[in-house]
């Protein structure tokens, strides 16, 4: 077990007002960067995805609305939705159209009067929680008979806003479902594109397609999105049926559409078990009324990705007779990684991790001043060394405490930054990516800590401050200029391939800079997450020619270990007397 003093030294390091304030400052800046990235995203043309489900029970006036907001990667994202429920007299619009046709009113008058026909029966605003909005309420006004209703949504997420002007045909139109003597208006679907089909019920076990002897028992909507690179596919479903049980989800096998329409082939589709198995692959997830996101593997598409734009989706329940829907769901590829890439460019940039990496070393050098340089210059380490502790333990205790402070501070900053980005945009990194970024940042700071520890062993007090600040200025600020100067010397001026050569020299020079270890891991992070690092052609090639994992590992270990060993050799025999 580690001796108490390590934790005590750690505690007094991390709980220093200066460290806490700096950490807070960087974290706030990091969250600010997340907001900046978010606002930049909102200005980019990115598709808005959401799934919706709504019912209006005309007899009880119960209104239910569920929406899931999704980012371009089909992951839940927070946002705000304002809605208006507008209903319109069907006869009114027919009459108005006739007036326009007869020339009784002009087109402008028609447009104006058409708006007036829409009666807003309810409206409201809601913020999502975990990307989902659920509203259940009794609406103020009764929906009169012979009225059709539409839902008008204004949606704002970090990926932009979408508004639906209150116009006839602009909204999402409810369909009436007659159940006994009451009418329920139902609305299912997803944006930007989905297909909605009726849900049928029958007492028969053997249903043919097209449907006979069955009645409409609800509505189901589906759309499919897939990510070619990650191999993930998502089925966005929104269903409402009179039956409140669970449905099995099936995806039509490739070519099913042709099978169904081709003359001479089975033109009717039986829903008995063997035929379902013949035409469909089962997705192991059951869904109920409402909205669902079903995740499955693109291997189910059987190499038809991009060649088949519509897939059959079968929802089937045999619990209480047979209930099913076959939906021809449109499929689209999601533009994976573009927004994430932009966000992470911001995150890694000078206002995010870059800022932390640029200024946190100042805290690091100050920590060593507190732990070693100052007490050594005062002579205070002797009194500590008079305890039952060896000189090596004293040396190691304070080194370990400082490393722990660096790790915890980096961890807190990184978690705060990642959490802010995740909650604002829904974008998160893979576990490998997370580890790479954290390890790179932490390794850089620990390497600089080791270097400063060496300086504190060679000097003390004010001389340490001067030496460590000079080291900081050299490694954190002047390094790029040195790389530039070296490039100019090697190329003999600004030649055509100057930039490539500059990048090459920079990356070679990073092996000799403790604070630049993170540049290597950031390169690997981008390659790991997005398949490439730089958008400039040829640059990835240049970097890959000089960056080797073994060399990066060797440089990191050397920067951490060698200064510590040298520091110990000096500290071992040094007088700690003031």
């Amino acid at each position: 077990m580690m001796p108490n003093p390590v934790f005590y030294d750690f505690k007094r390091g991390i709980l220093r007002l200066s460290v806490l304030l700096t950490l807070l400052l960087f974290t706030v800046t990091g969250v600010g960067v997340a907001y900046l990235a978010t606002s930049l995203l909102a200005t980019m043309p990115t598709p808005q995805y959401y799934i919706y489900y709504s019912t209006i029970d005309t007899s009880t006036r119960e209104f239910k609305l569920e929406i899931i907001l999704l980012n371009p990667e089909i992951r839940r994202v927070e946002g705000e939705v304002s809605y208006k429920l507008g209903c319109m007299n069907q006869t009114g619009i027919v009459n108005l159209s006739q007036d326009l046709a007869r020339g009784v009113i002009t087109q402008e008058e028609f447009n104006e009067k058409r708006k007036e026909l829409i009666m807003i029966v309810d409206e409201g605003v809601a913020r999502s929680s975990s990307g989902k909005i659920t509203i259940e309420k009794t609406i103020g006004k009764q929906v009169p008979e012979n009225y059709t209703c539409s839902l008008y949504l204004n949606i704002t997420t970090p990926f932009g806003s979408q508004t639906m002007p209150i116009e006839v045909f602009n909204g999402l139109q409810y369909v009436p479902l007659e159940i006994g003597n009451r009418t329920i208006y139902i609305l299912t679907g997803s944006q930007p594109s989905s297909a909605t089909y009726p849900l049928y019920s029958s007492t028969s076990d053997f249903i043919t397609y097209p449907v006979f002897n069955s009645s409409v028992a609800g509505s189901a909507s589906a759309s499919i999105y897939y990510n070619r690179r990650s191999g993930e596919a998502y089925l966005l479903l929104s269903i409402h049926s009179v039956y409140d049980g669970e449905f099995e989800v099936y995806l039509g096998k490739p070519g099913l559409i042709n099978t169904l329409i081709e003359p001479g082939k089975p033109s009717a589709m039986s829903l008995n078990s063997s035929l379902v198995d013949e035409y469909f692959n089962k997705i192991n997830m059951k869904i109920k009324n409402g909205i669902s996101i079903v995740e499955f593997d693109t291997s189910l598409f059987n190499n038809t990705l991009g060649r088949q734009s519509v897939y059959a989706v079968l929802l089937l329940s045999r619990d209480n007779g047979t209930m099913y829907s076959i939906i021809w769901a449109p499929s689209s590829s999601i533009q994976s990684g573009q927004s994430a890439r932009m966000i992470y460019n911001q995150l890694l940039g000078i206002a995010g991790i870059g800022l932390f990496a640029l200024f946190f070393p100042v805290v690091v050098l100050y920590l060593i001043y507190v732990y070693v340089a100052k007490p050594r210059s005062q002579g205070a380490l002797e009194f500590v060394l008079a305890r039952p502790i060896t000189r090596l333990e004293l040396f190691a205790t304070r080194y370990t405490a400082g490393v722990l402070v660096v790790l915890v501070a980096t961890g807190l900053f990184y978690i705060a930054l990642s959490a802010a980005i995740y909650f604002l945009t829904g974008v998160s990194t893979s576990p490998t990516g997370t580890l790479l970024l954290f390890a790179g940042l932490a390794s850089s700071l620990i390497a600089f800590y080791s270097l400063c520890y060496l300086l504190a062993s060679l000097t003390s007090g004010t001389r340490y401050i001067v030496a460590s600040v000079l080291a900081y200025v050299l490694f954190a600020m002047l390094w790029s200029l040195i790389a530039l100067a070296l490039t100019l010397i090697t190329t003999g001026g600004f030649t055509t391939n100057f930039y490539e050569q500059y990048v090459r020299v920079q990356y070679i020079s990073y092996y000799f800079n403790p604070l630049r270890i993170m540049d290597f891991t950031q390169y690997y992070f981008m390659v790991n997450e997005f398949g490439e690092y730089s958008l400039i052609p040829g640059i990835d090639q240049v970097i890959s020619e000089v960056v080797y994992p073994w060399a990066v590992a060797l440089s990191t270990i050397a920067w951490i270990i060698i200064p510590v060993v040298l520091a110990w050799l000096k500290f071992k025999k040094a007088s700690l007397y003031a």
């Binding site: 001796p3 108490n4 003093p5 005590y8 030294d9 007094r12 507190v370 100052k374 007490p375 005062q378 002579g379 205070a380 002797e382 009194f383 500590v384 060394l385 008079a386 305890r387 039952p388 502790i389 060896t390 000189r391 025999k573 007088s575 700690l576 007397y577 003031a578």
Partner: protein, 305 residues
């Protein structure tokens, strides 16, 4: 319970601070370690407490080498430095708890012990005071409290009476005696021999990094010479001429003369001076002058070299 300094030598650059220093402090014995400032007392002590590695030789604390078995040796020795220096940002109790961690105390135990010891040593009101604000006396008491965490069997008090008020001097003298009574081996350093006169059993004299004598206190006292301190209008040739007949005079300042080893009754000397027309303003008799013995030892050591 012994502190055994065993042929210790130490140099700082070209300056040889200690040359083959050897002596032993046994259990229940209080040894005075006397030398002028810069003689090597503190260097010896820093080596004995394990905070400074010797160039050669070793110090054995209850048989444990401070060089090879530092942890065991440090466990068995307490140290109050002449000028204790702490990490000044700490508050007293916090620093006590921190240092107690090296003795294996949990935070709760260390807090309880710290409150108890600091209270006992008169620092109960300063538990949450920053160490930077402590007076010298308070710092020494704090160093003592830390050294008492595990109540070690050996103790080194380095010039502890320096800079203390009378109350502090009495406190530390009594403490040294109490340690001796409890059977601890106590090394008590001072640059003034008379400081250890009433408490030491033995005295080790050090000069320019060498031990120049080890005596029991009885021997020291018996070897010390009596002296007369005479204050006159003007300490000049005439006065010295008279005094030379009766002993070994030396001028202290322009009005004060010390007559060592007087061969006759002081009243005879005063009468002779008065008869010669010299006005005697003050007259003081010192039975035995320990410092003279010390200076003689130094003189002898230097002439031997």
């Amino acid at each position: 319970m012994t502190i055994q300094i065993d042929h210790v030598s130490k140099s700082f650059g070209k300056i040889q601070a200690l040359r083959d220093v050897s002596f032993t402090v046994r259990n229940g014995v209080l040894v005075g370690y006397v030398g002028l400032n810069g003689a090597g007392k503190t260097t010896t002590i820093r080596i004995a407490t394990g905070v400074l590695p010797p160039d050669s030789g070793d110090v054995l604390i209850d048989g444990y080498s401070v060089v090879k078995e530092k942890k065991k040796a440090s466990w068995r020795i307490g140290w109050v430095p002449e000028l204790p220096i702490f990490e000044s940002d700490f508050k007293a109790l916090d620093y006590f708890v921190y240092l107690a961690g090296y003795y294996g105390y949990s935070t709760t135990e260390a807090k309880r012990l710290g409150e108890e010891l600091l209270e006992k040593l008169g620092l109960g009101n300063a538990l949450n005071q920053k160490l930077a604000t402590f007076s010298q006396g308070m710092k020494k008491r704090f160093a003592l409290a830390v050294s008492l965490i595990n109540d070690p069997p050996n103790f080194i008090l380095d010039e502890v009476l320096n800079g203390l008020d009378p109350q502090g001097i009495v406190f530390f003298r009594d403490l040294a005696l109490e340690f001796r009574r409890k059977g601890k081996a106590v090394l008590f350093s001072s640059h003034i021999l008379s400081e250890v006169e009433g408490i030491a059993d033995e005295v080790v004299f050090i000069h320019k990094g060498r031990v120049i004598g080890v005596y029991s206190m009885e021997e020291v006292k018996s070897k010390a010479k009596p002296a007369l301190e005479i204050t006159v209008n003007k300490a000049e040739g005439e006065v010295l001429k008279v005094l030379e007949k009766y002993g070994e005079p030396s001028i202290v300042n322009e009005r004060k003369i010390v007559l060592r080893n007087p061969r006759t009754d002081p009243s005879t000397i005063v009468a002779e001076l008065v008869n010669k027309g010299i006005s005697v303003l003050e007259f003081k008799k010192e039975e035995k002058n320990l410092e003279d013995f010390f200076f003689e030892l130094i003189k002898k050591a230097e002439s031997d070299v």
